[in-house]
Symmetry: C2
DNA sequence: GAAATTCGTACCGAAACAGTCCTGTTTTAG
DNA sequence: CTAAAACAGGACTGTTTCGGTACGAATTTC
């Protein structure tokens, strides 16, 4: 469904919250409380984001997390890539002869194109843009798809295209 | 991972194959053979595409499938939407007070934006463009992500962004 | 040195996905 | 008019991934 995982969903909420409070040093319980997200997940995601270099972590008693860079310099593409795994694009079978019953499989090369288009779209949106509500305003297009999710789903993904 | 399902993957291969042979009327076993895809899946997907109005089906002995419209008039966005389910975009919890601990959750409205960007990218690519190899050529950026998939994976998704 | 906090990893249940099969219904061919 | 070919629509199952949890280790502050 061209959907992102809940992890990424949560991650963006957390990053947005941090971007909105750049002066504060927030730890996992604080972030969980302020975003109304389950603490264990928050903790897990923060670890991931820190390892990927998007967050700077400080251990110890007065530890916590902060953005590693300014919110303007972090793109949605980066965040999603960090939370979803390594940067892999089109993966055909590398074994020749399975896919290429035609001398040159035309489908494959064009996946690159789609990826590039989608990626460009995501790279064009910075984290800082998520902190202030969009001028256009949200037109209530929300047609919830596959039955409401459990408990909290603060930001909740794009499920279809 | 912003990944599409295998169904959609297969579906695009099938549609591309049909777009490349607009004069022919192909049935499920033929398509399965020519695309090297498993027949049961092919059959399943063709049914879905026909129901969604992207394919025109003809029953009976000399039956088969053909594109319902010209390949230029079918966008990637349409295909994906048809195969992945209904058009749902950003789904926040509709219950006020959970998500909106801030008077107006800033994250939510901006998901619309991301969706719009991605959708626009996909709407800009027509099925007809998938039939001929891209001029620029595929630069081999293929870093296969989570271990090769089983058996056949002809076109195989964009896994990360 | 003790307390608080991040870090790493391993684990489990539930849901979604990939794939298969079976039983109809429609159409052409002989 | 009968039979075969092909689509139509579910129901079913195994596997993977995701969401969520738990615990011990490392690190910093007081």
């Amino acid at each position: 469904m061209i959907r992102i995982t809940k992890q990424t969903d949560y991650g963006i909420v957390l990053l947005t919250h941090l971007a909105a409070n750049p002066e504060r040093q927030l730890n996992a319980p604080e972030l969980a409380a302020e975003t109304r997200l389950p603490l264990p997940m928050v903790s897990k995601i923060l670890k991931l984001l820190a390892r990927e270099g998007l967050l700077a972590s400080h251990r110890g008693v007065k530890g916590g997390y902060g953005l590693a860079r300014h919110a303007e310099e972090i793109s949605m593409a980066e965040i999603i890539a960090a939370l979803e795994g390594p940067i892999a694009i089109t993966e055909c079978v590398s074994v020749e002869g399975d896919c290429s019953h035609e001398p040159l499989c035309p489908v494959r090369s064009n996946w690159q194109r789609i990826n590039t288009a989608v990626r460009a779209a995501l790279e064009g949106i910075a984290l800082s843009e998520m902190t202030h509500a969009k001028p256009g305003g949200p037109q209530g297009l929300v047609t919830l798809g596959s039955g409401g999710r459990a408990a909290f789903t603060p930001a909740a993904a794009f499920q279809e295209v």
